[in-house]
Amino acid sequence: MNAPLASTALAAKDFKSDYKPVWCPGCGDYSVLTAVTKALASLNLRPENVAVVSGIGCSSRIPAYTTCYGFHGVHGRSLPAGTGLKVARPDLTVLVASGDGDGYSIGGNHFLHACRRNVDLTYIVMDNHVYGMTKGQPSPTTEPDWSSKLAPGGTGVREFHPLVIALASGANFIARAFSGDPNGAAALIAEAVRHPGFSFIEVLSPCVTFRPEQRGWKESARPAPVAHTDDPARAARRLMTDDGFNIGVLYKGNRAPYAGLATAASHSVADLEAGFRLQER
């Protein structure tokens, strides 16, 4: 084995901004930030060629903690913003970040259609099965019997299965990562960025404040026992027996990504400005 060599490529730390995250100590999102920055470094990208777009919630603070272009958008609307950006600037690497509340509830509809459109971007959802920022309401992935002060006895509502929805809706790359495995998560994110089309990664990212029992996820998460498939039917069968803790790539499809409009836009930026100009009466 050769000695590791010093490289002129950027390191993970070059993708971290000077803003220190304000997540709770022990939050899984710290590891997701580490994984994202390691992935970008491993892909030999530069911050000025990457955009991180998010919605609202604890996880959606992530753009500010990177040195990439960032857009901290409207609740549940990270995917429309990211999609628009990628279509307008296909040269950029676009990462869209969200949480289970932002991404599956408020932005649930956008999730389905982003999978269907298959625009070439990477969607990272930090899933902790709770709305943490707004103090512990059940989210779409919360177990029906999770009892809390805000949902005594649990919601009784069946939880949402993000990987099933992504597969059924046409996502071209589907994976699950765990924040307790930041190197593994970084490798999955890098693989997702490389794969053409809409790539979806669910990251199990414990909320130690509202769901302290999720510390136990360390014991449950394990590498998926089988390699990924490009057959949606086979992927669907695997999901039938998935307990939510298999880590790795589930599905890598071959569908061509959205290619943009057949004709170039006929409007310039000046035309747009003119359209918004206030008219004198």
Binding site: M1, A6, P25
Partner: protein, 176 residues
Amino acid sequence: MAKPAQSAADEEAYAEFMSRAYTMELEAVERYAQFADQLDTHNNREVAQLFRKLSEIETLHAKRILAEMRWPSLPALPAAFAWDSFEAPETAPFDTVHYLMRPYHALEIALRCELQAQKYYEEIAAGTAPRRVKLAAKEMAAEEAEHVALIREWMKKVPQPAPGWDEDPDPPQIND
């Protein structure tokens, strides 16, 4: 470190072993620094300072490996290795910190990590690796044992947390 004459394959195995050791140290450096930042942000300066010190100590260990191997200083972590668990034996689990934790807790975390590192090296030293790797692993295990003893001494000088150390009259999870 002892350097008996070895075959090219043994040299390669030794370099890989040292690269793993270096990765272990760097991951520990990174995690302790991350904990220090987290606790700084949450105004637990005392524990933040302790984690910063632990990070500095691990940095010294990493530098020693670089010097030993005559490798250049690396700006980034090398490619991840497959460990027995998700992270390297000396890396503290990301969720072991608490915003009200006391220095004693931080030392407990460090002690667990050092014990795991010691066990990791002891297993290699007792295994079937080439002689040079086994010798190096034995030395590393002895060093980790020293660290374990130092941390145990350190823990004697730090007050044990009083019961209820994590009670917060205005906790973040209150929602009424």
